[in-house]
Symmetry: C2
Subunit: 228 residues, 2 copies
DNA sequence: GCCGAATATTAGCCATACCTAAATTAGAGA
DNA sequence: TCTCTAATTTAGGTATGGCTAATATTCGGC
């Protein structure tokens, strides 16, 4: 067998690949080379090469031309990075004046540099939060995580009142727009209308109605009003 | 001329070399290849190679077989790293429960990952301190720094009362020992005795006398009682 | 079942940044 | 001045992690 790559001593690149594969292979599905390449903004051959090395390290399993899946070790390492990332985000927003739209980039670099000690001290300073500023769940130190996704605002039945639970952190611009509309985690909204052919949906926030495109409504995840 | 390497976009290694050269070439003197190698725990040929590239980047000047000196650009970049390092140390001690003996290693990795924004926010949270937890002066954002060194405790005249100003952060063990004796920045001490042939010195701290070796007394820098 | 497009991998190359071994230079003492 | 040693540089090699171009595979449509 191969060098079982202890969780320390992974390179920055390896950590990024593991996070990407984790994100792209929900429920034991396989992540494709091109999806990984797209997410990390790398060429497909670079990904092919790295995936080969990751499987030699015992961090993932690769079925050529089919896709990639994390092993238990890989998943553990990925979740460790996710925990770091989300705790760093929470810390920067809480204590250092970052906004939920700007914090991602900073965390993306810090997550590779902080020690376990520092991460746990930030967690303690925050009171061990369950979610980050975008509502994404923070894995426990042992790697356990609540992976229930919630319902996209786009799919909420008309007339139903729900609580916003989490918002995809991908695009800062989008986050700023949503914040301006008051569509942030914790807020309660009612779906008032949905137009056909992937048309816009109308949501009522705080007695004000907003019409938002279906694509936007797809990245806002909700749960029944009283959950969490 | 060469690519004038804007302050961003330096690699981690380059940043470490610049800091090392800065530290080893006080007052426009030259740093030697082997000193740099020793400080960074690298082989001498590795240093030779990197120094060549640094001078191609316009960050240092190298006279073969003589030594290395930073250019203005190199010095600016080095001081930027020193500022980051010392502010990070101050922040971790003030807000995240680090001790002055453990904070160096963490800062050593974070200094390469933080953004200018984050550094300045930490500085603001601290109230823009002038020195780090070891008493080392923190360069201003524009690179200006108070480089007056102070007098080693080993060289203070017998009978003279002085204030401890800064302590070399090199060895955590040593820092713990000094802290146990109460020999930390800000404390006022009186030199009571000095034995010949590089023998120990006796200092009085808070009405208690301690005998410490000359080597230890060499890394504790002092200033006249009322300075700072 | 065959074909072509899309996807993935292999081949071969480059830069960074390290290493050891060999060659060179500087400088101090006879 | 000459020589010997210590410091330094050059030569040549390795691992990581990218890239482009060429090749291989898969799979949907006919």
């Amino acid at each position: 067998m191969s060098a079982t790559a202890d969780t320390e001593s992974l390179t920055r690149s390896v950590e990024d690949y593991l996070k990407a594969i984790y994100r792209l292979s929900p429920e034991g599905r396989h992540a494709s080379t091109s999806d990984i390449a797209h997410l990390l903004e790398l060429s497909a051959p670079s990904v092919s090469g790295m995936v080969k090395r990751l499987s030699e390290l015992g961090l993932c399993e690769h079925i050529p031309y089919k896709g990639v899946q994390l092993t238990d070790a890989g998943r553990r390492a990925a979740l460790r990075m996710v925990r770091r990332h989300r705790l760093i985000e929470a810390y920067l927003v809480e204590f250092l004046g970052y906004g939920w739209d700007t914090v991602h980039v900073e965390a993306e670099r810090l997550e590779h540099a902080v020690s376990d000690t520092l991460v746990e001290r930030m967690a303690a300073a925050l009171g061990h939060p369950a979610v980050d500023p975008h509502g994404d769940p923070i894995p426990a130190p042992d790697g356990s995580i609540d992976e229930t996704a919630g319902t996209a605002l786009a799919d909420v039945p008309v007339g139903r009142t729900v609580g916003i639970r989490r918002v995809d952190e991908g695009d800062p611009e989008r986050l700023r727009y949503l914040a301006a509309l008051g569509l942030v985690p914790g807020v309660v909204v009612t779906l008032r209308d949905r137009q056909p052919f992937d048309g816009p949906v109308t949501v009522e926030v705080d007695a004000v109605r907003h019409v938002i495109g279906r694509e936007l409504a797809q990245v806002v995840l909700c749960a029944p009003e009283d959950v969490r």
